[in-house]
Amino acid sequence: MTVVSSGPKYPGGGFLAAQPATLWFLGGLGLFTLGVTVLAEGFGLGTLSTSMVKILGMTLCLCLIAVAMDVVWGYCGILSLGHFAFFGIGGYAVGMWLMYARTEGIVTEALLAAPIPPTETEITNAIATQIFGVVGSSELPVLWGFAHSLPLQLLMVVLVPGLLALVFGWLAFRSRVTGVYLSILTQAMTLALSLYLFQNDSGLRGNNGLSGLQNIPGLDHLPQSTLSLWFFWASALALGLGYLFFAWLVSGKFGSVIRAIRDNEARVRFLGYEVEHYKLVVFTLTAIVAGIAGALYYPQAGIVNPAEIAPIASIYLAVWVAIGGRGRLYGAVIGAAAVSLASSWFTGGGAPAIDLGFYRINWTDWWLVLLGFGFVAVTLFLPRGIGGLFDLLVRKS
């Protein structure tokens, strides 16, 4: 593709200087990371529990996918209801290695106790029985061909979402499927993928998915308090780099073209641009970033399974971005962080119940109602989202 090389060019690293918002964001992220590190149980004061560090680390991954979603929807106008599928695929790809390597350790240890050393086949069969015994199978599916190798599975994290997005995007954009039709089509893709994964015979353990991912093979000696912090740092780094990359991507000519596509696709096409190519690049790049975010998220969550990929997850992603404010990357971050943390607070019993006298509002029951109507309100009265409020403040000052 030649389109990417037409990215922005700044003399002498002036890109960041021209992007105060990005600078602010990166600074904030750095401070936040530092703060969490100092407060975390595994490193310093211990005010922040390991489970809180995990929640924060996972939230950063969600922010990263939200940024990707903002680029594809807020900047390019493609309301993809399938990016959470790419996120899940990333999780599955890294999860396969985590499960395989952990099981391999257990199995080899058990087999070494026997008088005769095990053969390759015996080890593979024993691993398969351990992993797939739960779904009533004892053979390693073809899908797991690379699971023994971390580099290969990490490659899969990038490759599988990338290729899937490329093929799907190529088919869809080539047929000029646009607007809501495209949304429904991406939703159908997500549904097909989740239905496939729900099948017990999918080779990825069906409804159970891959679990025990928080135990990192080779790092068994480290407590979760330390591991959680490592993953938190990795997530923060990924978010920082991802943000920087997308900020750079949308700031130059490429960004102008995709924004133009969002605003009037036909006109851009008449101007001689290969609209399909631009869309395909954006769709694929964001899918890859979604995959990376997923690969960092699920080892912190501990389990990846088909329910994660269900169409509703991708709709929630769009909701975060819309609440945060489309077309501004920090908006996506605000939206994802605010909604997912609020959701955690409300459903975790953190919010105090309101006693109306005749009825008691328990937030575990009413949180979704609040979110739903709150979301309608944001769409109606705050079309630019929370990020839009920010803009107003900046402009006034």
């Binding site: 390991t50 969550a301 979704l368």
Partner: protein
């Protein structure tokens, strides 16, 4: 983290010296049941059951001289949240025990956290077996406490020779059907007389499948259906069955996931005579059960509410835990675990449950016929059957056993005489 652990160790050693004094009050009980999302249907009831049991115990004067405090969290039917909330309960709320989970995947999600932090969880639902964790007590039925006796009933009492195994496509039905397939073949049922079908969660289009089952009758053998269909999907299935005029006398259906709660979602007049296998039915005629139902109705404030099998499992599990804590004089997990082995408590259906060293209960198996009022007529009740963590009917599992008391291993290969792993395979 380390500090906490050391502190815990210090308190627990101190406890052995003077139990009543050193116990931290109040004793905290974590409740890890979904209150929202798809599983809230089943799990909310269990949350209320635990709250009721806690209330009852506090009314009796609490435990070790302390009041018991329930700490309820909502994992929202979101499996990763079970791990997150379990960690929160164990490290932030510092609970002494957790009662929770319904689906296998939610249990498998919480398992690594429980094992890492040496927590203690009571799991109250019938499941597919093939697991025994040091940190979990399984108070629901293993396949040999539900599926195998039900199939025996089909073979011996009803003379069924051709089987349709219908299930929702997830782990419990798959594993159960694998076990049943191998069990039926060992009983001389030919492979072509076993029809298997899997449908998605919440499936509603049952016409073709019911037609396929009826068509099995052309083989000239008595047909029976073994249903591991989950939750709401049962409603459509039974409605289609009734519409097709399939009576229990022609094609009996025995279900492992249909209890009093599920039947409240449909009109049962057409389903009279179909069967379910559980360890408990609300219709059990014992004074304990009558008292339990009365207490439940008083607690929930609605006399129309039913009781069911997982509720009894929590009832047994909670009381066993209370007794084990009293015996151990502490809530320390290792001490309580040791006191749990061999712990006995009367069932609501009569007889005694015993907690075995493989962390599964010995419980009687009941088979009930559906009545027009949505309750079950108990037509068969076995002696207490010890729950089997690893089934004898699958070649890979037949050689495995679990014994935490003698062998300190949940996955012990009896052939090679080695412990495969002390943690679980999640």
């Amino acid at each position: 983290m380390k500090k906490n652990l050391l502190a815990g160790l210090a308190t627990s050693t101190a406890l052995f010296a003077a139990p009543a004094l050193a116990q931290d009050c109040p004793i905290k009980v974590g409740v890890l049941h979904s209150l929202s999302g798809t599983m809230a249907i089943s799990e909310t009831t269990l949350k209320d059951t635990v709250l009721m049991l806690v209330d009852q115990q506090n009314a009796k004067g609490g435990l070790l001289g302390c009041q018991i405090e329930a700490k309820v969290v909502d994992p929202a039917s979101d499996w990763p949240l079970f791990a997150e909330k379990a960690r929160e309960l164990l490290t932030v709320s510092n609970v002494d025990v957790i009662f929770g989970s319904w689906t296998s995947v939610s249990r498998k999600s919480a398992l690594p956290v429980l094992e890492e932090l040496n927590g203690l969880m009571f799991y109250p639902v019938q499941y597919e077996g093939e697991e025994s964790s040091k940190n979990v007590f399984y108070t629901g039925a293993a396949p040999n406490q539900q599926a195998i006796p039900a199939v025996d009933y089909f073979l011996e009492e009803l003379g069924v020779e051709s089987f349709a195994l219908l299930g929702t496509d997830y782990v419990y039905p798959r594993t159960t059907n694998n076990i049943l397939d191998s069990y039926l073949k060992s009983k001389g049922i030919a492979a072509e007389d076993i029809f298997v079908n899997y449908t998605p969660f919440g499936h509603s289009d049952w016409a073709t499948i019911v037609g396929d089952v009826v068509a099995l009758g052309a083989g000239g053998k008595k047909v029976g259906v073994i249903s591991t269909i989950n939750g709401d999907a049962n409603i459509g299935f039974y409605k289609e069955l009734a519409a097709a005029g399939v009576s229990a006398d022609d094609i009996p259906v025995v279900a492992f996931s249909v209890g009093e709660e599920e039947l409240s979602g449909l009109d049962t007049t057409e389903l009279v005579g179909h069967l379910a296998a559980w360890n408990y039915f609300m219709s059990a005629d014992t004074p304990e059960n009558a008292a339990f139902i009365e207490a439940w109705h008083a607690f929930i404030g609605d006399t129309a509410r039913v009781t069911n099998d997982p509720m009894e499992a929590h009832y047994i599990g909670f009381n066993m835990w209370v007794n084990a804590v009293t015996e151990a004089g502490t809530t320390d997990v290792d001490a309580v675990r040791a006191a749990m082995w061999g712990q006995e408590f009367p069932n609501l259906t009569g007889g005694m449950s015993v907690m075995n060293a493989n962390h599964h209960l010995s419980k009687p198996v009941l088979i009930g016929e559906i009545r027009a009022d949505g309750q079950f007529d108990i037509i068969s009740q076995t002696e207490e059957v010890p729950g089997d963590a690893w089934t004898d009917f699958l070649p890979e599992s037949a050689v495995l056993k679990s014994d935490w008391k003698e062998l300190n291993c949940g996955m012990f290969n009896t052939e090679t005489g080695t412990c495969i792993q002390v943690t679980s395979n999640y």
